[in-house]
């Protein structure tokens, strides 16, 4: 059977989700294999080396860099307080003594008799990593972190902003075609993840931020509305470090696009359940898509076989979404994958797929299809 290699977005009822929770540098892991964790539990911690300040002591004392060691009254490794004298020089006949004070609480890291500089390092900055989602510690990455495992419903979005967040799922629109309007966002939604249909306007998203909503999951958002939110024009899709308070996960794309039926139904199925979401997106080699993870309780777990390795490609019968104009957003089933090249309206010669969209057969370049991975 012919196949086309097109990675798709996952919309899974039940999946084995694993998350690497790693420190940026080596540190201490505080959980053990088999431990049950909840999203806010700390799993590893470390201290980042403190910020550094450089003080040009020789200039301040008006001496040559080579004389700095005579002037220093503290040594490498010493702790100094803010405003503590670290170097001094007696003036003419012992009068007009001049000195240099430390601008910060710090440790002396180095003293250079070439540049006349002293390097001061501030206190280490503690860094902690939490578990992000409820689950079990499956493995330990020595000195770096843990792998948390959970059986969960798992949905990938196409684009998001804001980092990790968590909360209870609330459906605020009745169907997948409805927009989230400011009226849908209520005080009682604070700390929760609200889900809507096709679109959220800038006004409504701003209201969500002001109401301290944990996250918004929606079909579409306007590209040009990102600028007033982020404060800059998003040139390259690398997001996740924005401090917005309300993460946004867009499931379909830019513009007003109905949320896919499967995504909307799955989220509806989990209304009032607790979910972890992450808006972080990186569209580069090693792509990262935003996600919604809803860990399942034992009662919710079923015995269905997982369909994990579906990224092999699109085959006849695959459910696909068309991801470029003129049929953008349409969902259908692949009828045929002819091997010869076809000429498009643009005169581009490409390999195509014949896709059945509600009885209409559309000819679409294979690279303009996205497989909907479902189970």
């Amino acid at each position: 059977m012919a196949h086309a290699y097109t990675p798709g977005l996952k919309v899974l009822h039940q999946s084995d989700v694993e998350k690497n929770r790693r420190l940026p540098i080596k540190g201490k892991v505080v959980k053990n294999i088999g431990d049950n964790v909840s999203p806010d539990m700390i799993v590893a911690k470390t201290d980042l080396p403190g910020n550094v300040q450089m003080v040009k002591v020789s200039n301040l004392l008006n001496i040559g860099p080579g004389d700095i060691k005579d002037a220093m009254i503290v040594a490498i490794g010493d702790h100094v307080d803010k405003d503590q004298v670290i170097a001094e020089m007696a003036g003419l006949f012992g009068l007009f003594k001049s000195d240099v004070k430390s601008p910060i609480d710090a440790t002396i890291e180095s003293i250079s008799d070439i540049t006349g500089q002293v390097v001061l390092r501030e206190k280490p900055i503690p860094v902690e990593v939490d578990a992000y989602m409820s689950g079990t510690v499956k493995d330990i990455i020595p000195e770096e972190g843990v792998i948390v495992q959970a059986t969960a419903a798992f949905i990938q979005g196409i684009f998001g902003i804001g980092g990790e967040s968590r909360g209870e799922i609330v459906m605020v629109t009745d169907n997948r075609s409805d927009e989230i309007t400011p009226n849908h966002i209520l005080e009682e939604h604070a700390g929760k993840i609200i889900v809507g249909g096709s679109f959220i306007s800038l006004e409504a998203y701003r209201k969500a931020i002001s109401m301290k909503i944990a996250g918004v999951v929606v079909g579409g958002f306007n590209y040009f509305d990102l600028e007033p939110i982020l404060g800059y024009t998003l040139g390259v899709a690398i997001t996740g470090s924005e401090d917005l308070g309300t993460s946004l996960v867009v499931t379909e794309g830019y513009g007003k696009i109905y949320m896919s039926d499967r995504t909307f139904s799955l989220l509806k199925e989990h209304e009032n359940n607790f979910a972890s979401i992450n808006g972080a997106t990186q569209i580069r080699a090693g792509v990262i898509r935003p996600e919604i993870v809803i860990p399942l309780s034992d009662a919710q777990k079923s015995n269905i076989e997982e369909t994990r390795d579906q990224e092999i490609g699109i085959g006849v019968g695959s459910l696909v979404r068309i991801i470029r104009a003129p049929y953008f957003g349409k969902i259908g089933k692949v009828k045929l994958l002819p091997s010869e090249l076809n000429k498009m309206e643009s005169e581009t010669m490409v390999r195509v797929a014949e896709v059945d969209v509600n009885g209409d057969i559309l000819i679409v370049p294979r690279s303009n299809l996205e497989m909907l991975e479902t189970n």
């Binding site: 180095s110 590209y223 390259v236 899709a237 470029r324 643009s346």
Partner: protein, 604 residues
Amino acid sequence: MELKSILATDCGSTTTKAILIEKIDGEFRLKVRGEAPTTVEAPFEDVTKGVLNAVMEVEELAGRKLLDGDNIMSPQKNGSGVDIYISTSSAGGGLQMMVAGVVKSMTGESAERAALGAGSIVMDVIASNDGRLPHEKIKRIRQLRPDMILLSGGIDGGTVSHVVELAEILSAANPKPRLGQNYKLPVIYAGNIKAQDQIRDTLGELTDLDIVDNIRPVLERENLGPSRDKVHDLFMEHVMAQAPGYKKLMSWTDAPIMPTPGAVGFLIEMIAKEENISVVGVDIGGATTDIFSVFSGKFNRTVSANLGMSYSVCNVLAEAGLDNVLRWVPLDIDRKELTNRIGNKMIRPTTVPQSLEELIIEQAIAREALRLSFKQHKEFAVELKGVQTERTISDAFEQSGSGQSLVNMMDLDLLVGSGGVLSHAPRRSQSARMLVDAFQPEGITQLAVDSIFMMPQLGVLANIDNKELSEEALKAALEVFHKDCLIRLGTCIAPVGKTKPGTLVLSAHLVFQDKSTQTVELHNGELIKIDAPYEPIKVILTPAKKMDVGSGVGEPIETEIFGGVTGLLFDGRGRPLDVPIEKDKRLGLLEKWSNAVDEYPKNN
């Protein structure tokens, strides 16, 4: 050893491309090309898998055996295997460097030029005078986590303290390499010879320090070679060795793996030298656009890290502005709808334009990506700064001297384009239009595109230093470059000067190989295409009184030019090319220009 066949791969961040070159009837020609997704990322995490898949496609298409299990068969025996296997790589984000120099516009710039010339992406230039406080520099170095750092500063025998101060900043930042937590960050020192001991004391323990000759031994001279070579060595030893599967790949190749842009740059520099011409080459990719130029024998490369056609397409929009993109779109289109469409291309970067409207929008963005990248290139490819030149009183009025751009469009002989949007445009006239609109060549300039983007492989082939093979390999690279790689589009003839709309700017008298003749009268604002194959055409170009086509204002030229698959483009639209902002006027002009070169299908 007589060379009969060469297999070459280029491992890109998304696709691995393989080409097979064979000696057929005494000359080297491209036989077939195959490709497969690159396998650096999970779940494969082994670049050789993608290489083998691409080679398997080549095997199928060429109808002969190249692989024995997971090994490339070498040398060629009884029609199986190949004599040489080589590769380039930009997978895993290529080589990402940070450079440091004492004065940003002097040693800082020289270090940047060396790093770019070696094929790296320069993430930042740290300099003593860059306006940032030491703690800000330290924070930046920590954040970026480069693959390698090139530290320069001071002329030989000059002041030591500034460059040691930079080393102290590096030491305080204690940067960790991007790939692999268990090795020390490679640092190359190419600064004042007198500071070497102090640099060793400051960085020797903490980093993997290499010391090479000063990049700027005296103010008047750059010495980029030793630093560039060291970057290549370290790229192989450290960065590539950390990437998954590269150790295995390195054991397969007959020459060191080169960073992709380094190989392309080498080839362009060689062509310019061989033919004694000025060349500009461009490779527009999904994330970045690389520009290479050789003017007056001086090579320069720039990489515009966030100007590309898919991953960074929105950045083109952000930097150029919507109006600048729209000025190339001969359609009335809703502005907000357009931005959403471009946004959707960014988040789904692998899609292709199915409708004509989508193709037109994509080619409009390409013009702006190319224009902006070339603007950056012109600002970077300059004479050495900080050099004192003797001036006469007349020079003082011209304000020329150090720091002047080397790029002179009137001197440009050949403009070569490559990358998906240029190499795979459905009509070659579209590629020609994109190149001319974006680069705006002046006078007489030949245009070409890389047929299937094989310049990287040919670059590494031309650079093999194995004595037994190098001569034949170089011959093979040049033969394939001229016969199979370059598609000659034709020649652009663009007179420069100020005249009123509609007035005559140039008369041309053409004598073709079959002795037939043609006269062309070009008016201000016009674009005329004359069909002519790639063969010499005698031409007398007579510019109007205030116009210059290469030999001075109003001076005629008698010369030989070449046609190509598009032909001759007479461009009377002026330089700089201004497209009216008013919608009706703009749409009318764009349609006229488009029809003149038969750019898009007529029925739409």
